[in-house]
Symmetry: C2
Subunit: 360 residues, 2 copies
């Protein structure tokens, strides 16, 4: 087991990465109060891992409530969130009841937001079971649900008390979801770590074969980056926005197609290529660099072209982005491979051209 | 104009109390960003005060979005909150758009929660227009909506940037709502200021006649108490819970009758008398003290007996309270007039008897 700490003062917490963590209740027990826990998970993850976690806690004398939600981004909405509140209230969950998110990004985001709001805030623990959530969404306290008009529009910055990334859970992850997680791993290389980018190019085959040592390195390195950025800029006043490389374009794809049609990581991959195309138009990247990014996404099994929603629709959807400031769209682009910048200087014509180059 | 500050470090803010404040946009302008404001109010307040505030801001060049909601506690729910989100997204409100709550406690709580959640948090300003919201709910950052199973169950601690209590808005307040506000004013006397309690007894007639000097003193003294308690215990880990004198009983009345049947302050008055009865049963208050409290509520025009929901129903409703810990109901009681204590030692039989003494 490897551990690292997210340095956020009195809200600092540990991330543990390793195998067999779900069986080790001693990692969780120190954080629990007498009121017990409510484990929130989904119909896909529950049959695989719920008993492993819940049984261990019950054997240790912890009162456990299980909340099993339908699976998928389409359920990251108010009505599903309200099901969580209904059960918590029915079971008389208290301010000291700890919520545990057992699942991928949707479960983590929704459960975190439930924890932020239930009785104005209860403790919560992230147990991410997908690569995407282990390397990205479980760390840093961004919680949210979607709104029909925009992804993650309703949410809170609310930090977990602990993150347990059990690599064993990746054994059952569908290939498509593994690839989607790799999109966020590659992102760290692109925005701030050229060396890691090269390592990923050299080791992508091992990662796709789910080699535990390679996965452990990739998850740990990704979490190090995430923890460093979050500690420096928790509320996304500056540097943290760079983590959203490809996300403004990607959210437009997700919202435009309806939540769940594409996986988040798939949309981010294409969005990142749109950002790379735009960076090339601004003269920051050469074609070889764009092609290098495309090649890596291809090897990872990710899409490299987006749906043709039309330029107007892309721009309309992107205008709802949380990074809009003073009416100007701010985009994360690549100054070079391994260095991202936030800019509001891209001309609309160039944005349209970058999108057009990557659709259809 | 009198001013005081809520000392919360980098989230500290001022409360201004006085007349003519709605006309003085210079109090608000320094807090606004280019993205402008969205004023959230209700159908009762809008015709009275919306133009006074919105017009002034527009004249100063601020982009103003107006969101007018139906009036009443029954609308402090998710679907009304979602109307706010709908408009904000429709108008492309940004992270730097400032929400202004213009209204009473329902508008303040709901708008504050909208500000806490929209894009994971935007700035907000409280402009309370009822006595209750001026002396209590607008200060301290408790925001929430109701859930069918419990009042204020879904919410956040989220502080405003500024509170503007314009006493002129009390001119149009219905008598019943003025009385409801006085319940919370009396509360401060009961829990921590015997001298203020005596002042209220001596000046209740002036307050009911809406004498501006008396009201200014009552609002200012109340806000001083609230600010002091909140600065010491923002998240209600201890002392802040004392502000909930009468609220656990009162919430049972509000939820039991359906939101809106009784005003919050009315339910708090009866709840406070139930707490006083219970305190008497524990030997802390004598009958004369209980009668003194009852007399003050009576003069203020507040109810002194609650609906007969049955003891079981009261206890069931109270068991959802946010102050439940380790399965035990914690209640705010009166050790004496002017000193409240939080205790989980009251026996169920005594709680039932105290309720029975005050219903029907």
């Amino acid at each position: 087991m490897q551990s690292l700490r997210v340095a956020l003062g009195d809200r600092a917490y540990d991330i543990h990465i390793g195998t067999g963590l779900l069986n080790d209740v001693n990692l969780i027990l120190p954080f629990l109060k007498k009121a017990g826990v409510a484990i929130v998970t989904n119909e896909t993850v529950a049959p695989l891992y719920l008993e492993r976690l819940a049984g261990g806690l019950r054997n240790a004398g912890v009162a456990v409530t299980e909340i099993v939600l339908p699976d998928g981004e389409a359920y990251k909405d108010w009505s599903t969130l309200n099901r969580v509140f209904d059960v918590l209230l029915e079971r008389h969950a208290e301010r000291s009841t700890t919520l545990i998110a057992l699942g991928g990004g949707v479960i983590g985001d929704l459960t975190g937001f439930a924890a932020a709001c239930y009785q104005r805030g209860v403790p919560f623990i992230q147990v991410p079971t997908t690569l995407l959530s282990q390397v990205d969404s479980s760390v840093g306290g961004k919680t949210a649900i979607n709104h029909p008009r925009g992804k993650n529009m309703i949410g809170a910055f609310y930090q977990p008390r602990l993150v347990l990334a059990d690599l064993d859970t990746l054994d059952t992850l569908p290939d498509r979801e593994l690839a989607a997680g790799l999109a966020e791993v590659i992102k760290y290389g692109l925005i701030r770590d050229a060396e890691f980018l090269a390592w990923l190019e050299a080791n992508m085959t091992l990662l796709l074969a789910r080699d535990k040592t390679a996965l452990a390195y990739a998850v740990h390195r990704s979490c190090e980056h995430k923890a460093e950025v979050v500690a420096a800029d928790e509320k996304e006043a500056g540097e943290r926005a760079l983590l959203n490389l490809g996300h403004t374009f990607g959210h437009a794809i997700e919202t435009g197609l309806g939540y769940g049609a594409w996986l988040h990581g798939e949309a981010v991959a294409v969005g990142t290529l749109m950002a790379a195309e735009l960076s090339a138009r601004l003269g920051w990247l050469d074609r070889a660099a764009v092609e290098r990014v495309e090649a890596l996404f291809r090897i990872a099994g990710l899409p490299v072209r987006g749906p043709d929603l039309g330029g107007d629709r892309y721009l309309e959807l992107m205008s709802h982005d949380k990074k809009v400031q003073d009416g100007r769209l701010r985009l994360v682009l690549l100054a070079q491979l391994g260095r991202a910048v936030l800019t509001d200087q891209a001309a609309e014509a160039d944005i349209r051209a970058a999108i057009a180059a990557r659709v259809g």
